[in-house]
């Protein structure tokens, strides 16, 4: 069996090793990315390194909603023109970004920091539920919208959050489950069809 040899210097190997940990990159693509960065040192690598250093030094978690920003409270929490009466609860920041990208929600957000999980041993105390309850108890909050995955973990989390919010009397809603836009009924699984029928509404 041939022994594995390293062709690059330890510095380059370290760079490749770190890049390979980025989601979407494996060892081979990390090697290509490292090579590209080294070839475009002035135009790509140094600006990227500077941007990463600035982000590492200045980005923090918003103490109000759990999102990432350079300010605390974050831009979404302080933005004028957003509806303070609506709080949209998401599991992670990428879910918040997805909703913002779609531009379909103009209220405030709350990031739980994950979902309850029996497999990973994540319990209610590991999530930012207490902060949500504190925010929802403020005057003027009219609705809490649970934008959580239609999975066992997502909906278990939704039930627990709903239970914690119940004493406040604030209406709690969740995103609809069912037929996706462009979805064909014959291709849907039984569970999605069931959820769609359960969530039907008059026209």
């Amino acid at each position: 069996m041939r022994s594995k040899t390293t062709v690059a210097s330890p510095e380059i190997e370290t760079l490749i090793g770190l890049l390979a940990k980025v989601p979407g990159l494996g060892p081979r693509s990390a090697r290509r990315a490292a090579l590209q960065l080294l070839k475009k040192r002035e135009t790509l690598m140094k600006p990227l390194a500077d941007a990463m250093a600035v982000a590492a030094a200045s980005v923090k978690t918003c103490s109000a909603c759990g999102a990432l920003d350079t300010r605390d409270p974050c831009g979404l929490c302080t933005a004028p023109g957003r509806d303070d009466g609506l709080i949209c609860v998401v599991a992670d920041i990428q879910d918040l970004w997805a909703l913002e990208r779609a531009g379909v929600f103009r209220g405030r957000y709350h990031v739980l920091g994950g979902l309850l999980s029996a497999l990973d041993g994540v319990g209610p105390d590991d999530l930012l539920i207490a902060g949500l309850v504190a925010r929802a108890s403020q005057d003027g909050v009219r609705e809490v919208i649970l934008a959580l995955s239609a999975t066992v973990d997502g909906q278990t989390t939704a039930h627990v959050v709903t239970e914690r919010l119940a004493p406040l009397g604030v209406p709690v809603t969740r995103l609809a489950h069912g037929v996706p836009i462009g979805g064909e009924l014959e291709l849907l699984d039984d569970g999605t069809l069931f959820a769609a029928l359960q969530s039907r509404r008059p026209l």
């Binding site: 989601p23 029996a118 239609a150 066992v152 909906q155 278990t156 039930h159 039984d190 569970g191 359960q198």
Partner: protein
């Protein structure tokens, strides 16, 4: 190494890009983990409680291996998403199997009992009793079965109403009356499948199985009882279903 058969999904963890480490429970192979590719397409299938038809392959038996193909046989999870108690019941069964049973050992009786619970989760008045029997069976499978066949004091097999927290053996109602406050109540439906489930029986069953699951399985492992089980008991209690 390769096997093909039916299994129940216990859970899935993301692994790299578009992959997951999935844990299944089958009658012939017990808890088995493996890598699954293309999980974005399979998100609805890889929910706890769903039954799948799967082939597990690995070059060596001790390797993690992978599941391919993996197809849904029957879905359970999607039908329960709006039912808090049923979701907690489902999550609790999964968590207890992972807590009590080692990997890659067959437990056909537990598989059968789990299947019965999963098939009944849409019947709110039926499944808590079946769930309790599942926990009793899990104790037996893990090697900590309770002896509920006859009274430990007199040897009689009738009117068994208590269980000793020390020995895990049943006791006759009259024979144990003097120290009943030190014993755990034994609801009749746990020893007689035909017995009706009276008010308070489910609570007694949860207390009985919970005591032994915690002392004999969770505590020695340094792990707590599953959160989902605690939430399940709370929810059933608040809704007068214990």
């Amino acid at each position: 190494m390769e096997w093909t058969g039916s299994a129940i999904v216990l859970g899935a963890k993301p692994f790299g890009e578009g992959k997951a480490i999935v844990e299944l429970f089958s009658a012939e192979h017990g808890r088995t983990a493996g890598v699954v590719h293309g999980v974005r397409r399979l998100g609805g299938v890889l929910q706890a409680g769903n039954r799948v038809h799967v082939t597990w392959k690995a070059r060596l038996a001790e390797q993690l291996g992978f599941f391919a193909p993996l197809e849904m046989e029957s879905g359970v999870a999607a039908f329960l998403l709006d039912d808090k108690a049923a979701l907690d019941g489902l999550t609790s069964t999964v968590a207890l199997i992972r807590l009590a049973l080692p990997e890659r050992q067959a437990y056909p009786a537990v598989y059968g009992s789990l299947s019965v619970v999963l098939d009944s989760l849409a019947e709110p008045h039926l499944w808590p009793a079946l769930y309790s029997r599942f926990e009793l069976g899990l104790l037996t499978a893990a090697g900590y079965g309770l002896d509920l066949s006859r009274c430990a004091l007199t040897g009689v097999a009738h009117d068994l109403a208590f269980v000793s927290p020390k020995s895990g053996r049943a006791a006759n109602r009259d024979a144990a009356a003097a120290f009943a406050d030190k014993l755990l109540a034994l609801p009749p439906f746990l020893i007689d499948p035909e017995a009706p489930v009276a008010s308070g029986d489910i609570a007694d069953a949860f207390a009985l199985t919970g005591f032994f699951l915690e002392r004999r399985i969770a505590d020695p492992k340094g792990e707590g009882m599953p959160d989902a089980r605690r939430r399940l008991i709370e929810h059933l209690g608040m809704n007068g279903r214990l």
